[in-house]
């Protein structure tokens, strides 16, 4: 039992990582290497522990690039890459990776697919050989495809037993509607039923390409060894045919007006909710002010939300707010849960705080939030994996390796006025989506005052 769930403040609702909450005082500048096939690799040696981490992003192979009819294809493709190659069965891949005590994963974010590999330095060459084989020579066997599809269909049912998890999928759908960023990583019943193996193979051919891929290696390994190893593994990845231009993910303005959704789960003893509204795009100059503002509003233990709802009133174990960003936009989200008979009291306080927040914060609060963000920053770039992720991320978004320096300087210069301006812009008043999952019979009357709700049953298909 933990005092609080730290992850609450970093809701990974949309798959992509957002990261004002990260970075060390100094992110060491990496060396830039180029593989024979043109893939860029950023490298930093760190021999403190006998470990090596690699991160690689394949831009365009994420959820946001899926054709509408193929919702769930990005994630299913990523998972299938680990389920057998031309020369290894799925079992052989799993056995080989587990035998090394290593971690190997390919998964889809919103704007890219990501490959993660880390192991003891002595096992890293073998691990990269397996990783490259998975990436370059996937077998796409029909029986493995069927297994993945069935697992997802079964998982979609199971997730509805957990209101805390289900509310996220309902929110994603309610907020983004048919926009590609509203795609659920595991797809929907309808999309999974319709999907075929040739769809997945087509998706792989179109989106998995080395041209724009970016990698980073950090750990106990020398530069010549990195070059030799990567040139003989992922450096062998050649583009097949000409690249089909892929449309960028269209911007999404977010909701206009209030959208209120109630999902009836008759056995729930607590009501779970997420409120969302338009945020800001990745790299937006408002980032430092928004970080300070959100730290105070719902981003740490003494935040307004946690103080009023948990510390003073004991209404909940966890409450928080956060921003999620991507290349062309972002979203602000707050979330919590409470006993069925307290949901009205809780939401009243949330709306009061949003209103109060738009009026700004006291000078000592601003100072405290600045200190907090600066003090908690170094651990976010402490490990090999976090540094490698930062290199790939900064390179992909074109933010520059001094981005975190600038971000930290930006934090230092946030004032009461600039934080207030960010709050006035980003804490929603009239335009938002609010989704509640709970026992309708016990909460519906308390919710009526907020407007007209669209009500559905949790057993209805889809989200």
């Amino acid at each position: 039992m933990n005092r609080h769930l730290r992850t609450l403040f970093i809701v990974l609702l949309l798959g992509a990582l957002t990261l004002p909450a990260a970075a060390a005082n100094r992110l060491p500048a990496p060396e830039k290497l180029t593989l024979k096939n043109g893939v860029t690799v950023y490298f930093l040696k760190n021999a403190e522990l006998p470990l090596v981490s690699l991160r690689m992003w394949i831009p365009g192979a994420g959820l946001g690039n899926e054709p509408a009819a193929l919702e769930g294809a990005a994630n299913l493709t990523a998972d299938l890459l680990m389920k057998g190659t031309a020369t290894m069965s799925a079992e052989a891949v799993a056995e080989a990776v587990d035998f090394l005590g290593a971690r190997l994963d390919i998964s889809a974010g919103d704007e890219f697919a990501g490959l993660t590999a880390e192991s003891l330095a002595e096992h890293f060459p073998r691990l990269m050989a397996i990783a490259a084989d998975c990436l370059m020579h996937p077998a796409f066997k029909p029986d493995e495809f069927e297994k993945e599809r069935k697992t997802r269909l079964d998982g979609l049912k199971a997730v509805k037993d957990s209101p805390g998890a289900a509310v996220r999928s309902y929110f994603t759908k309610a907020y983004f509607g048919s926009h590609p960023l509203g795609h659920l990583a595991n797809g929907t019943e309808a999309s999974l039923q319709a999907m075929t193996l040739p769809d997945i193979q087509g998706y792989y051919r179109k989106f998995y390409r080395p041209e724009k891929s970016i990698a980073a290696v950090v750990g106990a390994i020398e530069k010549p060894a990195v070059l030799d190893l990567l040139n003989s593994t992922i450096g062998q990845w050649k583009a097949q045919g000409a690249a089909t231009p892929t449309a960028p993910i269209p911007p999404y303005a977010g909701p206009k007006g209030k959208k209120l959704i109630l999902i009836d789960k008759p056995d729930a003893t607590q009501a779970y909710w997420i409120l969302g509204a338009p945020g800001y795009k990745l790299g937006d100059p408002i980032t430092p002010q928004a970080s300070v503002m959100n730290t105070l509003f719902g981003g740490r233990f003494t935040s307004w939300l946690n103080t009023e709802l948990r510390i003073k009133r004991g209404l909940t174990y966890g409450v928080g707010s956060s921003f999620q960003t991507w290349r062309t936009g972002g979203v602000f989200m707050a979330n919590s849960y409470t006993k069925n008979d307290k949901i009205g009291e809780m939401l009243d306080i949330v709306f009061d705080l949003l209103k109060k927040g738009r009026g700004g914060f006291a000078p000592e609060e601003i100072e405290s939030a600045r200190n907090y963000l600066l003090g908690q920053f170094p651990p976010t770039l402490e490990t090999n994996a976090s540094k490698a992720t930062a290199y790939v991320r900064l390179a992909y978004y074109g933010l520059g390796f001094d981005y975190y320096e600038k971000y930290l300087a930006g934090i230092q210069s946030v004032t009461g006025d600039s934080a207030k301006a960010a709050a006035a812009k980003l804490l929603p008043a009239d335009d938002f989506v609010l989704v509640v999952v709970g026992k309708s019979a016990e909460i519906k009357a308390q919710l009526a005052k907020y407007g007209t709700w669209t009500e559905r049953k949790i057993t209805d298909p889809g989200f």
Partner: protein
């Protein structure tokens, strides 16, 4: 080891950089104050931050009926005020100084984990030492925090089918020892603990002789020790806390518990009584755990998830504990799956382990997982502080951490097989099933 893999390993060894191994037993410096407070220092100047962890030897294991969950409740109240720093002051001051914290309670221990910039060290030591004995337990604040815990239980147990089942299975398998109840405690206890009972419990277990202080990161050890002496030396040692004397009697036959509840998917959990973390039986059983349950190549994952597609996932294994706890096999059945069949497949795999043991390849795989896991856990100052603290509480000394890999390397294949036969028996077994009410949808 198969030839092919040996050849590959030899080839790749030449590419690897030999690590400078900055994390050695000798780097940990130990001090002890007259009042019994043990202090561990490990310098690490990679980032300008410090992890200050305080572990107390108290958990739900030390509770009694009526007071279940109170260890965890005190963990929450530790942030709610002393005469010197009023309710909420700890968090406000810490966050103002750039620090953050969390805390946790388990069956065996309570840990307070602070992460802060180096400059906040003095203030953090002052506040940590103050709350070791100074809690107010203000009645109004106490009532509010009671609500928080009730919400945590509703979230973590009542609205989580796997957790409801787990609570039922634990309480069925363990009948006498305080591991009978979950760390969160029973709801009726949460709603009725009295302030004086909570205070008495706090006074009993929160004393320097029942704690370990761990400092990892960017600090000057001479000055840090001065600061710690100045804040902690005057705290008196307490009488030794009462010993947990209850010993779980041997189970004399298989048990089963059924939970019926509205749900879309069933839940399944099988447990066996297992040895304590310090038992010589623990390492070989832990290796069996890795073979059965670690990763997609593990025996149970392959059978249940991949081959027969009865489950969405399977997890569990051993858990290091002060007293004997359980070996867990938790499967997430697919909706509509016949739980009798699921159970039969698990039992079949257990039977194979008992009669055939594990292979050389599986043994080496487990060793590699243990070695990697050790280093993965050491990548941050937080990870180091946590590992040192766990080792102190569960094994009596941080030194165990550095001998663990050798201990596991000495296990033999015969021992692993013997542990399967000794612990994974019918009479030692409890099975729990959560069955969706009103038919599966």
């Amino acid at each position: 080891m198969p030839k092919k893999i040996a050849a590959i390993t030899a080839a790749i060894m030449s590419l690897a950089v030999l690590a400078s191994a900055q994390f050695r037993k000798e780097d940990v410096k130990v001090n002890k104050l007259d009042n019994g407070l043990k202090i561990l220092f490990l310098e690490d100047h990679d980032i300008p931050n410090v992890a200050l962890y305080t572990f107390f030897r108290v958990g739900s294991r030390n509770e009694r009926p009526g007071l279940t969950g109170v260890s965890h409740f005190i963990e929450h109240m530790m942030f709610n005020g002393t005469p010197k720093f009023g309710p909420g002051e700890f968090d406000r001051r810490m966050e103002f100084a750039g620090g953050a914290n969390n805390a946790f309670t388990s069956d065996d221990m309570t840990g307070y984990t602070d992460w802060f910039p180096a400059a906040a060290l003095e203030s953090m030591i002052e506040m940590e030492s103050d709350r070791m004995q100074g809690l107010l337990l203000d009645p109004q604040v106490l009532e509010s925090e009671r609500g928080v815990i009730a919400s945590e239980r509703r979230m973590g147990v009542e609205n989580n089918n796997d957790a409801i089942l787990s609570e039922n299975v634990r309480a069925t398998a363990i009948m006498a020892h305080p591991y009978h109840w979950d760390v969160i405690g029973w709801m009726s206890d949460i709603l009725s603990w009295k302030r004086d009972e909570i205070m008495a419990y706090y006074k009993t277990f929160y004393a320097p002789n029942n704690a370990v202080l761990i400092l990892v990161g960017d600090f000057d050890p001479v000055r840090a020790l001065e600061l710690i002496r100045a804040s902690y030396a005057a705290i008196p040692a307490g009488p030794p806390p009462p010993v947990v004397s209850t010993v779980e009697p041997p189970q004399m036959g298989p048990k089963e518990v059924i939970v019926r509840k509205e749900a879309q998917a069933p839940s399944f959990l099988m447990v066996f009584h297992a040895p304590s973390g310090a038992s010589p039986d623990f390492p070989p059983l832990a290796i069996l755990d890795l073979v059965l349950l670690n990763g997609e190549s593990s025996r149970l994952y392959k059978r249940l998830v991949r081959d027969e597609q009865l489950a969405l996932d399977v997890s569990g294994g051993t858990q290091e504990s002060i007293d004997p706890l359980l070996f867990f096999i938790e499967a997430k059945p697919r909706p509509g799956v016949d739980l009798v069949k699921l159970e039969a497949v698990i039992l079949e795999e257990i039977e194979k382990a008992k009669t055939g043991g594990i292979t050389e390849q599986e043994f080496q795989k487990a060793q590699n997982a243990i070695k990697s896991g050790f280093f993965f856990g050491m990548q941050s100052i937080n990870g180091k502080a946590g590992q040192l603290g766990q080792s102190e509480i569960l094994h009596g000394s941080y030194e165990y951490l550095f001998s663990e890999m050798d201990l596991y390397a000495k296990v033999t294949l015969d021992q692993v097989k013997a542990m399967a036969a000794k612990y994974l028996t019918e009479n030692n077994r409890t099975v729990g099933k959560l069955i969706p009410e009103g038919g599966q949808k």
